[in-house]
Amino acid sequence: MERSFKKEIEALKLGDGEVFHGEGILAVTKALLQSGVSYVGGYQGAPVSHLLDVLVEAEDIIGDLGVHLETCTNEAAAAAMLGASINYPLRGAVTWKSIVGTNVASDALSNLASPGVQGGALIVVGEDYGEGASVIQERSHAFAMKSSIWLLDPRPDLPTIVRLVEKGFELSEASHAPVMMELRIRACHVSGEFVAKDNVRPAHSKLEPIAGPPRFDYGRLAHPPATFVQERLKVEERMPAAQAFIRAQRLNEVFAGEIGEIGIIVQGGLYNSVLRTLARLGLADPFGASRVPVYALNVVYPLVPEEVTAFAAGKRALLVVEEGFPDYIEQQINVILRRADINTRVLGKGCLPQVGEYNSEALLSGFAAFLRETRPAGIDVDAGAGAADRLLGARRAAAAALGELPARPPSFCTGCPERPVFSALKLMQREIGPTHISADIGCHAFGTLAPFSMGNSILGYGMSLASAAAVTPNLQRRAISVMGDGGFWHNGIVTGVASNLFNKGDGVLVVMQNGYTSATGLQFMPSSLASRSGTAPGMDIETTLRALGVKWLRKVRTYNVATMLKTLKEAMRAAESGLKVIIADGECQLARQRRVRAEEAQKLARGERVVRARYGVDDEICTGDHSCIRLSGCPSLTIKPNPDPLRTDPVASVVQSCVGCGLCGEVAHAAVLCPSFYRAETIRNPNRWDRALYRLRRRAIAWLGGAARAA
């Protein structure tokens, strides 16, 4: 794992009345334990990785409670775990990154939601939307609606999040439906505190196993004709039960305000942003007292018509603050009011942007538009909207003053084993011409960014080979699909490799074998050399591919650019048809450095000999063309002002952070770059032989150098 959770694990042990300090997503983990879950599962991905990561390190706590933990190979596996709650009074929770994870999970989710559940089933999704997001911008809301899963969107304050987790299980059990909680990126990482409760040991777990399965009940299967009954149950029984529970438990919150003509309906997750916007327009104080009434939906699906009509009663206009497209909530509110024959105007999208995160800018301009449109009595509309205008104007002026700034996208880490593969791909394309590159999800997707700018499509996690299925037959040259080992096990093995072999396909597949799912924080996966239990899972990509029937298979150390280049050309030029797989082998450098640094520090402390390599550039020889950077992009290979008084273009420079991976030398060779690169090896705690040899060489060279100078 990329980081350690020692401190956080202690927080999971807190009992009644103690105060938990920490980030939102870990508060969710604690709330799960307080709710008496029997099992937890999921697939890692920002922003919810920590929920599972912390439990993986907290074996003793979950062992004591009897909680079963699975780090699933994909979200479909995680969602299917909830099947345990269909027949048994077991509470369970799973987590993943949405929208993508929910897409993968959706088959199991539909089949879960149809029969419904006995034990509370909670799905915690990280709504990866807006600034910092790395996936397609869609809403999880649609999945909740189509499958009759209730959707929580709590106010981003730890006590509320924790309460909603606990109430979520009760809601699930009261209505026999799964419940989903969406948490935006910032809510997952928000710091805060709440008063903890004791963890609850589940009634049934591996410590207290259930005696046996229930009597056969066809009605619990998502299979016809039971599915027809289940569809009716969802609408006629479960939803009314859920709405009754939401009302009775006051899961949604109304914050009264003196301006009676207008009101704001907001997704719980955006409540703090709305309140701050009102405060900046002079309409609220910093403690939540708003002059405009606010109805915060901690449950965004289903809505409770009685609550909506009560809030709207007597109001001229409502502003619905709902992030993302389509405007499901706004539409439903319109329908609810229409059916109740209430003529309150509903504004939302239009005042506010149709799409995109509702940040300060979007809300300020949206609220100004809403005030101007409705002009409620008792509010100095021009002062409020004017304040917003001034801020928006100043933002435009600041942007204009600084002009266009160089973007700083993420990139492969220093010494990343995947970078050399793209260097080789770039060199290969120079020789044999452009090739279709089918990209995938994972760190290697950084290959789509500068300086490589490679990739013609990304179709989903582990989908690169499958998405090239119809490309290779229609193009002169074979398509190259790039896939990580994470993506391979996530589903690339079946949708990609098996499908290709089954259809006697052609094409080239490069599998990046770095040993972890690195992009999500270095979690273990089936072909890792270790696992959370310590031993290696024992699944090997090469053996697996051979067993599947891959004939053309090469394994190349990634840093060896020349060999990689040769192998790529071979795969592209091979006369025979069929899938050609290159396993690009190189351990994730983040993981390697964590290990190597610790080992080196220990050796140094013991006074043992440690050899370190770092690369460097002779600035006198560097010509300032930066070809080397265009073939690497390593953060430690940068530029510096040219020390030559006669030249102005900056020269390449290798900075301290270099880990000596060797790519600079490999690329200089493979691409025939300038001879300015050197590798410098230093020896800490040198032995006597090292010192003597060094002294001897230094003297000889000084003598040779001196003689030459005199000549």
Binding site: A46, R276, P286, F287, A394, E620, V672, A700
Partner: protein, 512 residues
């Protein structure tokens, strides 16, 4: 009851992996220990892989105990024009926050490091793609109420610490947060990791406040020392050359004497005579001479294998590497150099009579650009050093080499273009002189640069000198073509730009 009207807001801008999260935790810890309501958020995601990212904090300036059970509603997103402290570990990232509109001229204190970590677009440029530091600094200073700007990276290195600790020191010392300095130190201790190093960085950040200011960057230029044997030639330069170009010319002389010999240095000075006269005649104030002298010195010290060997065996080189690695005098160092000479490199040191047929044969057989010898030379070993030294000693042979002859021919041709342009327009002459910038490097890079230069010469410079374009148009055209040649390695921009110039010239002719 509360009397404060708003929280104190802090927006931290950083690069993923720089410890912005740790910095945020220190502030949260310090505020929490004072009993102040505090909240932080971040958007790490994939940005933690060296991309730009931000952390946002709000602190309520009064303790919980003064709030009578009320909870301030703290925001998770930074507000436009609403930030009290913008803290950035790097200059461009500070500018990015300002451009986002988060600072207010009547509110914001910007605390930022002035050092640069170049973005990939700046690094991969074929020439100089760096953002203008002066422009960034001006934008930051103008859009904020106050600013504390200093090189935190250097401060961190000086303290043998890390940049986020220095930032924390500067934030603490700014006095903008409702937290005393001692509470931040306590927070570092409470966090418990690398406490001593972090406290050193913190102290360095505090201390830097006293002399903070956008100090101009020290010059990184490394001028060559004088040589006794050059004294006469340098005196000659002082007597005959204008002061405006003298430092460059002296540097050029020293460089070429080391590169070849005194005669070669003398040739440099002689070649500049005509340029000096053209400069004076055109009233260029020494600028044409200065730029031409700069490029001429670089061109005359063209990059052949002999020069590489000279540089690699320069006694000062190993010391530079040792300094960079911060090695103690007795610590062993091994250096491996990477060479990959091809047929062209081999031919460059042969006499023209041998080199030409060999190159022609290699071309026919497709060996050019395909046949190379990859060498890894251990330059710190006696045998490795000797091999390089042997190559460097070919210096005396150089004037008889094929490459030398080629280079001198091209240099003379280029100088002739500069001289021919000067009477038309010194601005045009200057632009032509500047085109020498395109010709640099080894192998592919050199071939590409030379081809681009030739294209510009043929399509723009020669037509301009033949009077096909008016002087101002020609000046723009040469500059545009040169910029385009440096835009992409595939020459796409250059092609497009040359087409446009052609069209413009056509229109100009038609209009005339």
């Amino acid at each position: 009851m509360s009397s404060a009207a708003r929280p104190v807001t802090i927006l931290v801008a950083a690069l993923g992996g720089e410890g912005g999260g740790v910095l945020t935790n220190w502030i949260v810890e310090a505020a929490g220990a004072r009993g102040l309501p505090v909240q932080s958020t971040s958007i790490p995601g994939v940005a933690q892989r060296t991309g730009a990212t931000t952390y946002y904090l709000e602190i309520w300036p009064e303790p919980w105990s003064a709030l009578g059970g009320r909870r301030p509603v703290l925001s998770l997103v930074p507000g436009l024009g609403d930030i009290d402290v913008v803290a950035s570990s790097e200059l461009l990232e500070a500018a990015r926050v300002i451009a986002g509109g988060f600072a207010a001229k009547d509110r914001t204190t910007v605390i930022a490091s002035t050092h640069r970590i170049y973005a990939i677009s700046e690094r991969m440029s074929m020439g100089d793609g760096r953002a203008d530091i002066g422009h960034l600094l001006k934008g930051i200073e103008e859009q904020a109420r106050s600013h504390i700007l200093f090189d935190m990276e250097t401060a961190a290195q000086g303290a043998n610490s890390v940049i986020n600790a220095v930032m924390l020191g500067a934030i603490a010392g700014s006095g903008r947060l409702p937290i005393p300095v001692a509470a931040f130190e306590a927070a570092i201790r409470a966090e418990g990791k690398a406490v001593e190093a972090n406290l050193r960085g913190f102290a360095a950040g505090l201390a830097a406040l006293a002399q903070a200011g956008a100090a101009p960057h020290a010059s990184h230029k490394r001028a060559r020392p004088p040589r006794p044997s050059l004294a006469a030639l340098e005196r000659a330069a002082q007597e005959t050359m204008p002061a405006a170009a003298l430092d460059i010319i002296v540097e050029g002389l020293r460089r070429l004497a080391a590169y070849q010999d005194l005669r070669y240095a003398r040739l440099y000075l002689d070649r500049l005579g005509a340029v000096r006269d053209a400069d004076a005649a055109g009233g260029a104030g020494g600028k044409l001479l200065r730029e031409t002298a700069r490029h001429l010195a670089v061109r005359m010290s063209f990059e052949d294998v002999i020069r590489v060997a000279q540089a690699k065996t320069d006694p000062a080189r190993l010391q530079r590497i040792r300094d960079e690695l911060k090695l103690r005098p007795d610590e062993p160092l091994a250096v491996v150099d990477f060479f990959k000479p091809g047929i062209e490199e081999l031919c460059s040191i042969l006499p023209p009579r041998l080199a030409r047929p060999l190159l022609a044969a290699a071309q026919r057989r497709g060996w050019l650009g395909t046949v190379y010898w990859g060498l890894e030379v251990k330059s710190d070993t006696v045998s490795g050093f000797l091999r390089l030294k042997l190559l460097a000693s070919l210096r005396r042979w150089r004037p008889r080499s094929h490459r030398y002859a080629e280079e001198q021919r091209q240099i003379e041709a280029w100088l002739a273009l500069v001289a021919a342009a000067a009477p038309l327009s010194t601005a045009l002459a200057l632009e032509i002189a500047d085109c020498a910038r395109l010709i640099k490097g080894y192998g592919d890079t050199h071939a590409r640069g030379l081809a681009n230069y030739r294209k510009i010469e043929e399509c723009v410079i020669r037509p301009a000198l033949a009077g096909r374009y008016a002087a101002p148009l020609a000046v723009d055209a040469v500059a545009a073509a040169r910029t385009a040649a440096l835009a992409d390695p595939d020459g796409e921009r250059l092609e497009k730009t040359l087409d446009e110039i052609e069209k413009r010239a056509g229109r100009a002719v038609a209009a005339a």
